[in-house]
Symmetry: C2
Subunit: 719 residues, 2 copies
C-alpha cells in the first residue's frame, strides 16, 4: 500500500492539481464564492431561505438583478434552489422590496435617512409569517442589501435576528480604468484590459456582467472606462456605441459609465483649430458631444479629465486656469445631470518648484471658482501613490470646492502583481489623518464625506487593478485591494483590519483556523513593503519608468523629478528632502498646527522623517539608534516580515485549495527574493553615498552595488 | 402564469445567461469536454470502464498522465469514479501498457510497425476477463491511445469490439507561437500570450498543463515558444530557466520545447563582433549556448530560424547561404539530438523579382547541402497564408532536403477572431495537390510524409491561434482550426470533413441534430471567405499592415510588394498577375506538366486564374459569363454563403448552450456585415479601375469608393 501511495504522490506532483479543484478554484469567483456551507449551517439557513419574494409588477432591473444573485447564492451555498419568484409571502421567505410598496411601507422601517442607495435588512413578520426583509428606497438599494445578506450567509452568520441598516457615506464610488483602446493597461498587472473594444458592441462578453456583479457587491456605482491619458477616439461615434453596450450591461447593477476626456478632442476629432475653453465653438462642440453621448447612454455619468499634467493638453495651453476648463465641460453635461471630475494630479516639467507643492499651488487659489457639478479628484499624497506618503495638503484646504479621493488599487510602486501588499492600512492611514482644517478631528475621511464643508458632491476613485487574468487582479490577495477600496468608498471610516477579516472569510471560507492568520499576513504586509522599499519617509526610489525594483542611484534622466536622487537627496552628510522653511517649505501647505509639527524634525513622525527633513546619518532616533542604524534595520525588518508572511502562509496549506495556495506561495517566493534584493541594493547604495560601513550586525549585501545598478527588466508588464 | 413567464424572460434578457451554464460553457474545455453522457450510454459504458489498470512499477510520467486523463474523463462522462490505479486485471477494466510488459507482449498486438508514438486499442480478454487494452511501444503512445479512447467515448461510440491501430505519419507535429516576450502575439487574435514570462519560472500557471493536455489529445508533440521574429533575450539564462519550467510541465504530455533563435544573438548577447556562421567563435558560441540549454532542458527539441527575410538578420549578411547558416546551428545541437528548422519564407525588399518566386530561387540550388538534422520549413503557398494559394513550388522540388509544411492556424488574412472560417479544406486542398515530383500522384501530403524522397525528418508546423482568451482561440470555431491542424499533422491524408464532424461531436456533443449542420457551416466557410475577399486566384488585397478588411486600392507604400496593386495589377483592360512566360514565369518553378497547365489560361483551374494570368475583363469563363460578371458574382455568392451560415447557426439555437451560441451568433453578425463590406468595397474599386458598370443584377455598393478607402482600423489586435 505504501507503494501505491507513493505512486499517487508521483502522479500528483507530476500533473499538478486535481482537475475538479483546478477548475473550481481559479480565483474567478472573487469574494462572490458561493460554495456549499457546512451541513449544519445549510440546514439552519434553509429554513430562513425558503423563497425569494418580490413584487413581480415592478420590472425594476436592479431588483431583478438582486433576485438573480440571491438565487445564484442560495443555489451554491445551500445546495437547493429556492423558487425564483413569488409574490405571496411565505414563512422563511426572503422578501425584497422598495419603500413604495405597501407591504414594505407597512413595516415602518427606518428608510428615511438612507437615501437612494441605503438598505435595511431585518428579521420580521409579514402576514403573520417570519421573513427576512431586504428593503430600500430604490432598486439599487435592494441590490446592495441583497449582497449584504448573501455575504452574511457566506460568512456562516445565518439569518437569525437580523437588524442591519447601512447607507454609503460618499455619492461617487468609482473605479478608474487606466485602460487603453488597444487593450494595454497603463500600470496594469493582471493582463489585458477586460474591455474587448474590437468586438464591442456586437459581442458582450459574459465577463462584463460578472464585473458588474463584483462591483455592485461592494457598493461601487460607477466606472471610468478609459485611461486618463486619453485618446480622442473614445469620443467618436463607434466608441460611444461600444461604451453604450457596456452601460447596458452595467445598468441592472447600478453602475454608471464615465469616460476620460482628452482635452484636445475638439481639434483631433472635431476639426476645430483650438481647444480654448472660452472659445464658443469649443464649448458648442463639447455640448454637442455630450448630447450625442447622452442620446446613446441616458445615464452617462460624466467626464474625468487629466489636464496640463505630464504632457497632457489642457486649458493652461490657452492661458486659462483649471476652473475655466472644468466649468466649460461642466456646462456641456449639466443639462443631462452629468458631472466633471477634474484631477489635481498636476506638475509641470518646466516648473522648478518641489513637485510635492505644485498641485496645491495650482488649485488652492481656485477654491470656490468651480461649477457645482465639478469635483476635484486628489491623489492620497502629493507625489504619486508611494508605499507611504503624508496625506495630500489639498485635503482640508479647499472648503469651497468638493474634493474626492483618488487611491491607486493597482500596485504600480508596490511590487506589481506578485508582492503581497494589502492596501487597507494605507487607505486607512490616509483617511484617518487629521487635516486640522476645521480644528482637531478634521480627518481626511471627514473632509471627503463632505459634512465639514457641506460639499454637494462627494466621492472616492480607485485606479483599478483589473484585467483579463482569470483571477481578475493578478493575484488572490490583490483582489482584497479591490474589495477594501469598495468598502472604504462606502464608508471611509471602515476598519482595514475588519475588512481584511471579512474578505478572508468570503474568499477562503469562514474557517476560524484561517481568518486570523490571513488577517495577520495582510496587516503586516503594508509595513513590510514600506520597510524593504522606502522606510522612514523615503519615496520614489523605484527604477525608471516601470517602477519595478530599486533605482536609488538613477540621476541622469532629463528632468530632475524623474530621478530618485531628486527625492532622497542623500550625500555624505545625510539623507532626505528638506520641505521645511529652510527647504521647499512644503510644510506650509498644511494647517498651521501641522506645519509646525512637520516643520520640526523632533516632532515629525519618524515614519515621515525623510519626507520632510534632510537629516544627518548620525541623527539620534527615538530608539536611541543613529539614523543610519535605524534605516538599515528597517530594511532588514522588511525582509524578515516577508519571511514571516511566507511561513504563515505555508502553515495554511491544509486549509486552502491547492491552486490558490500554490500561486500565492510562488508569489511569496518571488517577494522574499525581491525584498532581499531591495534591502541589499539599497544598503549597498546608501553605504556608498554615505561612505559608511554597514551598522554592526547587518549582513553585507549579496553583491557589489554595480551589480544592482546593472539589473534591467525588459518586457515588464504595465506600460 | 403568462405574466410570470414574461418576468422570467425579462430577467433572462436583462441578466444574460444563467450562472451555471455561463460558468460551464465558456469554451475553456475545448474538445476535452467531458460532460455526462446520456443515461443509457453511461450504463453501457460503465460496464466497460470498471477500473483503470496499469503497471504501477513503471513510473512513466506519460502513462501516469494517461491514467489521470482517463480518470478525469470517466469522472465527467460516466459520473462515477473508477479506482485510480490497480495492477490486477478485472472484468471491464481499461488496461494501459507498453510493449515491454509481459502481459501486453502476451497479447501479440501488431505494435511493431507503430513506432514510438503509435498505439493499439483493442477489446480483448486478459486473464480470462474482458478488458479494453490501450497498448503502445512507449508511454506517449499509451497517452495518445488513451485520448483516442476517451474521444471514442465522448462521441457516444462506446467501447464494444474495438480494434484500432494508429501511428503518426509525421515525426514533428509542432505549434509555432509567434509570441513575444512582452506577451503580445504577432498575428494573435485571442488575447495575450499564454506564456507569463514575467512570473516564470516561479509560477507555473495551471493553464500550461491544460495547454499540454489539449495538444497531446490531438498528437502535437512539440511547441516553439517564441516568435520567429525573435529577440536574443530568449536565449539568456533567465529565459532558458523559464523555458525549462514550461518543458517540465509539458514533458508528461510528450511535448518538447523548441525556441526561435535570432541569428544575430552572438553579437547581441554574446559580445561577439560577428554572426558569420563560418567564424569559429560564432560556432563555438552557439555550441556553448546549446550545451547550456540542454543542461536545463535535456529533451530540448532545437531551434527554428527565420533568417534573411523581412529584415531579420541571417547568414547572407556575411555572404553565406542558408545551408551554411543552418548547418552551423545543426552542429551545435547535434550532440544532444537536436534539430534545426530553417524557414524558407524569405523575400528581400531589394529583390525586384516576383515575390512568389524568391523562396524557390534561394532554396532550390541548395538542395542536398543541408545537414541531416536540418529540415526546411515551407509555407503552404509562395506568398503568405492567403485564403487560397496554389501549393508552394518547393514541394516536390527538393528531393534531397527534408521539407516540412508550415500552415497558419491563426487567421491573419481571414478575418481574425470573428470571421468563421474552418481551415480544414484549405489544408486538405494543399496537401492533396499533386506536385508531379515523382510523376502523377506525388501529392504534397506524400512529399512531406517523406516516403517519396526518403526524408529522414518529416513534419508539419502550425502558427498557433492560442492566447489567454478564456476560449483559447478567440472563438469557438477557431478551436476547430487548432484541432484539424493536429489531426492533419498526425495524418496528412485526413479528411477535412470527417475531422469537422468529429470536432463538432467533441465540442457540441454527439447530437445527430447538430453534427451535419455544423459540418455544413464549416465546410462552406472557407469557400465563402475566398469568395468575399479574394475570388478567382486574387491574393493579398487586405489593408496595410494589420490585414483586416479590404485595401485593394493601396499603391503608395514604399516597397512594391507591400501594395495590393502589386498583386492584382488591375487596369482598364484586365486583372491578374501574369506568372507565365510572358510575365514572371513563376509557373516554371512547378513540374513540367503543371508548368504547362498553369501556363495556359485555358487549362488553369479557374480558382487560381488571376494568380497565374492577367486576364481581360471580357474573358469568357467556363460558365459562359465574362470574367467581370463571374468575379462580381463570386463576391455576391460569398456574402450569401455567410448569410446561409448565419441562418444555419440560428437554427441550432435549441441545441447549443446559451453562451457559446450567443458568441458565435454575435461573430456571425460581424462577419455578415463585413462580407458585405468586402464585396461592396471590392466591386466599387474594380468598377472604378475597369471603368465598367456593375454587371446586370448586381446591387450597387452601399457607399462610394472613397468612403471605403477612408475606413481606418485603429487599435487593431495582433500587431
Amino acid at each position: 500500500m505504501g507503494r501505491l501511495i507513493a505512486w499517487c504522490a508521483a502522479l500528483f506532483l507530476t500533473l499538478g492539481a486535481l482537475p475538479g479543484i483546478a477548475q473550481a478554484e481559479d480565483g474567478y469567483d472573487l469574494w462572490l464564492r458561493y460554495r456549499p456551507l457546512p451541513a449544519d449551517a445549510q440546514a439552519r439557513d434553509r429554513a430562513r431561505a425558503t423563497a425569494v419574494i418580490f413584487d413581480a409588477d415592478q420590472h425594476d432591473v436592479q431588483v431583478l438583478a438582486a433576485v438573480d444573485e440571491i438565487e445564484r447564492a442560495l443555489d451554491g451555498m445551500l445546495g437547493a434552489k429556492a423558487p425564483t419568484y413569488g409574490q405571496a409571502v411565505q414563512a422563511g421567505g426572503i422578501v425584497l422590496g422598495t419603500s413604495g410598496e405597501p407591504r414594505i411601507k407597512a413595516l415602518n422601517l427606518p428608510l428615511g435617512p438612507l437615501g437612494t442607495e441605503g438598505y435595511v435588512i431585518r428579521s420580521t413578520v409579514m402576514d403573520g409569517k417570519p421573513v427576512t426583509v431586504v428593503a430600500a428606497n430604490s432598486g439599487v438599494g435592494v441590490l446592495y442589501g441583497s449582497f449584504a445578506l448573501i455575504q452574511h450567509l457566506q460568512r456562516g452568520l445565518g439569518l437569525e435576528g437580523l437588524d442591519i441598516a447601512s447607507a454609503p457615506k460618499l455619492k461617487l464610488r468609482l473605479l478608474n480604468h487606466w485602460d487603453n483602446l488597444d487593450r494595454t493597461v497603463e500600470r496594469g498587472y493582471a493582463g489585458q484590459s477586460i474591455w474587448d473594444w474590437w468586438k464591442l458592441p456586437d459581442f458582450k462578453d459574459p465577463r462584463y456582467t460578472d464585473y458588474a456583479r463584483a462591483n455592485a457587491s461592494i457598493g461601487i456605482n460607477g466606472t471610468v472606462l478609459n485611461n486618463v491619458n486619453a485618446k480622442a477616439d473614445s469620443l467618436t461615434a463607434p466608441y460611444i456605441a461600444k461604451a453604450a453596450a457596456l452601460a447596458d450591461v452595467f445598468r441592472p447593477y447600478g453602475i454608471k459609465v464615465y469616460l476620460s476626456a482628452r482635452w484636445s478632442s475638439p481639434i483631433e476629432i472635431g476639426g476645430l483649430k483650438t481647444a480654448d475653453p472660452l472659445d464658443p465653438q469649443v464649448a458648442a462642440w463639447w455640448k454637442a458631444k455630450a448630447d450625442e453621448i447622452y442620446k446613446a447612454i441616458p445615464d452617462f455619468g460624466g467626464f474625468l479629465v487629466k489636464a496640463n499634467s505630464e504632457g497632457q493638453p489642457g486649458p493652461q495651453d490657452y492661458k486659462r486656469n483649471h476652473a475655466e476648463g472644468a466649468n466649460m465641460l461642466a456646462a456641456a453635461v449639466r443639462p443631462h445631470g452629468g458631472i466633471i471630475m477634474w484631477r489635481a494630479f498636476v506638475y509641470q516639467h518646466e516648473n522648478p518648484e518641489d513637485r510635492a507643492k505644485q498641485a496645491y499651488d495650482d488649485f488652492k487659489p481656485l477654491d470656490g471658482q468651480f461649477a457645482d457639478n465639478v469635483i476635484v479628484q486628489v491623489k492620497n499624497g502629493a507625489i504619486d501613490f508611494q508605499p507611504r506618503e503624508p496625506f495630500h495638503p489639498l485635503f482640508g484646504a479647499m472648503p469651497k470646492t468638493p474634493l474626492m479621493m483618488e487611491f491607486q488599487i493597482t500596485k504600480e510602486y508596490l511590487g506589481m502583481a506578485t508582492h503581497l501588499v494589502y492596501l487597507g492600512p494605507l487607505y486607512e492611514e490616509v483617511l484617518q489623518a487629521d487635516t486640522f482644517g476645521h480644528g482637531k478631528g478634521s480627518t481626511v475621511a471627514k473632509v471627503i464625506e463632505g459634512d465639514l464643508d457641506k460639499y454637494k458632491l462627494t466621492g472616492m476613485a480607485g485606479v483599478a487593478n483589473i484585467g483579463v487574468d482569470r483571477d481578475w487582479s493578478g493575484s488572490t490577495f490583490n483582489q482584497a485591494n479591490w474589495f477594501v477600496f469598495g468598502r472604504m468608498a462606502w464608508d471611509p471610516q471602515a476598519s482595514a483590519k475588519q475588512v481584511a477579516g471579512e474578505w478572508s472569510e468570503l474568499t477562503f471560507g469562514p474557517n476560524p483556523a484561517v481568518r486570523p492568520k490571513v488577517v495577520d499576513i495582510m496587516m503586516t504586509s503594508r509595513d513590510a513593503v514600506v520597510n524593504y522599499m522606502t522606510p522612514l519617509g523615503l519615496a520614489h526610489l523605484m527604477a525608471t519608468s516601470h517602477h519595478y525594483g530599486p533605482g536609488l542611484w538613477v540621476k541622469d534622466l532629463a528632468r530632475p523629478e524623474w530621478n530618485p536622487v531628486y527625492y532622497h537627496k542623500a550625500d555624505a552628510t545625510g539623507i532626505g528632502y528638506d520641505r521645511t522653511k529652510t527647504g521647499s517649505n512644503a510644510v506650509a501647505q498644511y494647517a498651521p498646527m501641522l506645519a509646525r509639527q512637520f516643520g520640526d524634525v523632533k516632532t515629525t513622525p519618524e515614519q515621515d522623517l525623510l519626507w520632510f527633513h534632510h537629516v544627518g546619518w548620525d541623527y539620534r532616533m527615538k530608539s536611541g539608534k543613529t539614523l543610519w542604524e535605524e534605516l538599515a534595520g528597517k530594511y532588514s525588518l522588511g525582509v524578515r516580515e516577508v519571511a514571516d508572511m511566507h511561513s504563515a502562509w505555508s502553515a495554511l496549506a491544509p486549509y486552502i485549495d491547492q491552486d490558490r495556495f500554490a500561486k500565492t506561495n510562488a508569489f511569496l517566493s518571488i517577494q522574499q527574493r525581491e525584498a532581499q534584493w531591495w534591502r541589499d541594493a539599497s544598503l549597498a547604495y546608501w553605504s556608498s553615498v554615505s561612505g559608511r560601513q554597514l551598522p554592526a550586525g547587518e549582513a553585507p549585501p549579496a553583491k557589489p552595488l554595480a551589480d544592482y545598478e546593472a539589473v534591467s527588466w525588459p518586457y515588464e508588464p504595465g506600460r
